[in-house]
Amino acid sequence: MTAVSGTPLFGGRVARLRRTRPGFLTVVSAAVLALMALAAIGGTWIAPYDPAAQDVALGASMPSWAHWAGTDDLGRDVLSRCLAGARSALLWPVIVTLCTCAMSTTLGLLAGYRRGWVDAIMMRVVDLLIALPGMLVLIVLVGVLGGGIGWAVLALAVLFTPGDIRVVRSLTMAQRELAYAEAARTLGLRPTRIMFRHLLPNIAPTVVAGALLSFVAGLVALSGLSFLGIGLPAGTPDWGLMIEENRTLLDLNPWASVIPAALVTIAATAATLLGDRLFERLSDAA
């Protein structure tokens, strides 16, 4: 019994991963995300100005010694808003990712392990949700529900989940036929224990890679919604919102929209690269 129940984290892959040397891109991606996470935590403290402080008389201005990235047309310091904006730009996609991951893993394991009518019903619902045009549904949904980031996050999590359910389900179906799963069933372990303690560690690399992709998709989608003005309230320091609010200032201070746009791109690229590398390494370490 101990042979099948004492599985270390990710089936021992994390321990083996520690012993392998990470690649350059992995290190850079992780460092970039770590820096952004630091900005998300302490950005408002290290920002040179209050991100909300306005100086309408100053208006939009190019970078200077006083304002390294210039100001927007309300006279707000762009650098301070970029630093403070990391919080909402990263926090909400993380929440989307956690929700998506929790729902898709649970439902995917259930469908793949139980099969039968549970699987059939779940897959038809998944088919239906996948057929919906995601961004359009999101815009309509948020519009009908009256806007707000809460609804946007919930809607994104629901829209991202079906694709991940399919992946987890197919992996689970393959794993459940293997000898270790058969042994666990023979020993009389409860299905939930088999799914979460034995099958889950073996499909973890894909789940982790999927989570990072969900993060990227969430980051881009929420920035898009902010750009459309139906996510966060006006004035909130947020990269997507900054791109939208400052895109008319390209002649006065292009950095006011270029920098947040670059930050979204860098964060998305770093998360994608890290996800890919983690998937490869966790799979290789198996």
Partner: protein, 516 residues
């Protein structure tokens, strides 16, 4: 002719033909105007499309009974003259020989029906509020139309220049609900006729050869919609579009710097204001409203929103109307200078000395997003926190017109006539304080309604006094805080010229090829 000599001749002939063709296309291009709109015109009938993009097309196609001159004075339109035998009666005489663009003659029946249809419930006209003073419209002769008002109203003639668009009775009767739609179209006596109307592909107008007035300078007008302001500017800049009237004053600097484009500014008949819902929560307290008036830095808003093409508004009327009424000597009424300490002192007199929080929905796709942020920052200094809540444009407009969650709203309303009887009842009467009305503050009293009636009824100095009294009440009670007035602008490629002013109704006909 040998082949050796024939070849150069054929080539020469081909070149001549080609250059003739090019000259022809240059000529086509010279009298064809490609106009850009920022929104889709939804109807070519004012009853169903009382909005900027639709009316700009309507006024090029449909004549009105009267029109406005450069100073806002009422001039003959399809009616060559009119009399005003008593305060309630107007008798119009139609021009002779006016024809619709299909060749059918305009009759007094057509003209009478074109006005009376706006009160028909089957039509559900968006211009109905403009004809509430009309009691009866009759064709009293082959060329005579008599209008009887239910009460004297100075605004009748100016609003007739806007809302009394002439359409054939037969067509309008057959299509009460869908006249002006892409399927039905419209028919007018104006300088242009509709060649194509599609919600997706735009509108094409062609010169109306039967037009009774001077021959239009343009042969053809192609209108298409470009919703994004940056794309619209780039289209005009690159020559892909020849002009637009959708220039945001806050972006004036971008337009004036365009080569090959002439941007003309003129005073707009508008007023931008904050409405304070006097029937809700803390805003019931006049001291709170006065505190807000002192706390908002309106000079900063002017800079932010008008790009140097506007000014601070202290009185609650569009600037051209104030100038027409008072000249340079505006009446001395209470005003609220930007003064945070005075604002705090006013708030201290209220039941909310430490401030409060208000949920404030706003149009996330509108022009006022930045201004609302500036207002929220100003009010935060005295403890009034606005929780800005973004709503998609459609939902916001529906919610606002249903009078839901009004609290503090910002609006910049443009009017079309020079008469205060259009603006003031619109924003201050109790009748307008209901859903679908524009009195977003909800302020209104029987005495004020009587004062508004006086504004419509009286003439001369008595009328000016009545208007001053209404403005004084607004200044005292602050249901609205006037913010700024601005200029409108029209941008056209230098191949064209324009002669557009505050009271120009038919903008497209005012554009001409340069040198024409």
């Amino acid at each position: 002719m040998t082949s050796a000599t024939a070849l150069p001749r054929v080539a020469l002939a081909a070149l001549l033909l080609l250059s003739a063709g090019c000259a022809g296309s240059r000529q086509d291009r010279a009298d064809t105007l490609r106009w850009a709109l920022s929104e889709v015109p939804n109807s070519l009938d004012i009853a169903h499309g009382f909005n900027n993009p639709s009316t700009i097309v309507q006024f090029a196609v449909l004549d009105c009974m009267v029109t406005l001159g450069k100073k806002g004075e009422v001039l003959p339109g399809v009616a060559e003259s009119w009399t005003h035998p008593d305060p309630l009666t107007y008798v119009f005489t139609l021009r002779e020989g006016v024809k619709f663009s299909d060749g059918s003659p305009l009759t007094a029946e057509d003209a009478a029906y074109s006005l009376s249809r706006h009160v028909d419930p089957k039509v559900a006209s968006q211009a109905a509020s403009y004809v509430t003073m009309v009691k009866k419209v009759e064709a009293t002769g082959p060329r005579t139309v008599t209008v009887t008002l239910s009460r004297p109203n100075q605004a009748f003639l100016p609003t007739a220049a806007l809302a009394w668009q002439i359409v054939p009775k037969k067509l309008a009767e057959a299509h009460p609900a869908d006249l002006g739609s892409p399927e039905v179209g419209t028919l007018g006596t104006g300088p242009f006729k509709v060649a194509k109307f599609s919600l997706t592909e735009g509108v094409t107008l062609e010169r109306n050869p039967l037009y009774w007035g001077p021959k239009p300078a343009l042969r053809k007008i192609e209108l298409r919609t470009i919703t994004d302001p940056e794309t619209l500017r780039l289209a005009v800049s690159s020559g892909e579009a020849d002009g637009t009237a959708d220039v945001r004053p806050s972006e004036a600097r971008k337009w004036t710097s365009l080569r090959d484009v002439t941007t003309t500014f003129y005073p707009a008949d508008n007023i931008a204001f904050l409405s304070l819902a006097v029937n809700q929560g803390p805003l019931k307290d006049v001291h709170v409203r006065r505190a807000i008036a002192h706390a908002v830095d309106r000079a900063a808003l002017v800079q932010l929103m008008t790009g140097g093409h506007g000014g601070q508004a202290d009185l609650f009327l569009p600037k051209p109307q104030l100038t027409a009424l008072y000249g340079a000597a505006l009446p001395a009424l209470p005003t609220y200078a930007y003064d945070v300490e005075a604002a705090k002192a006013e708030l201290a007199k209220s039941a909310y000395p430490r401030g409060f929080t208000l949920a404030t929905p706003y149009d996330s796709g509108g022009e006022n997003v930045k201004a609302m942020q500036a207002v929220a920052a100003d009010l935060a200094k005295i403890g009034i926190m606005l929780e800005l809540k973004p709503l998609p444009s459609e939902k916001y407009i529906t919610q606002r017109m249903d009078h839901e969650d009004l609290a503090v709203q910002m609006a910049n309303l443009y009017y079309s006539t020079p008469d205060p009887s259009e603006v003031l009842p619109d924003l201050l009467s109790r009748a307008s304080a209901k859903p679908q009305g524009f009195n977003f503050s909800g302020y209104g009293t029987a005495a004020l309604d009587a004062g508004l009636d006086d504004v419509g009824r009286l003439e001369g100095e008595a009328r000016r006094k009545a208007i001053t009294k209404v403005l004084a009440e607004v200044a005292e009670q602050v249901p609205y805080l006037p913010l700024f007035h601005n200029e409108s602008a029209i941008a056209v490629n230098k191949r064209f010229t324009t002669d557009v002013g505050t009271w120009t109704i038919d903008i497209l006909s005012a554009v001409r090829p340069a040198g024409a």
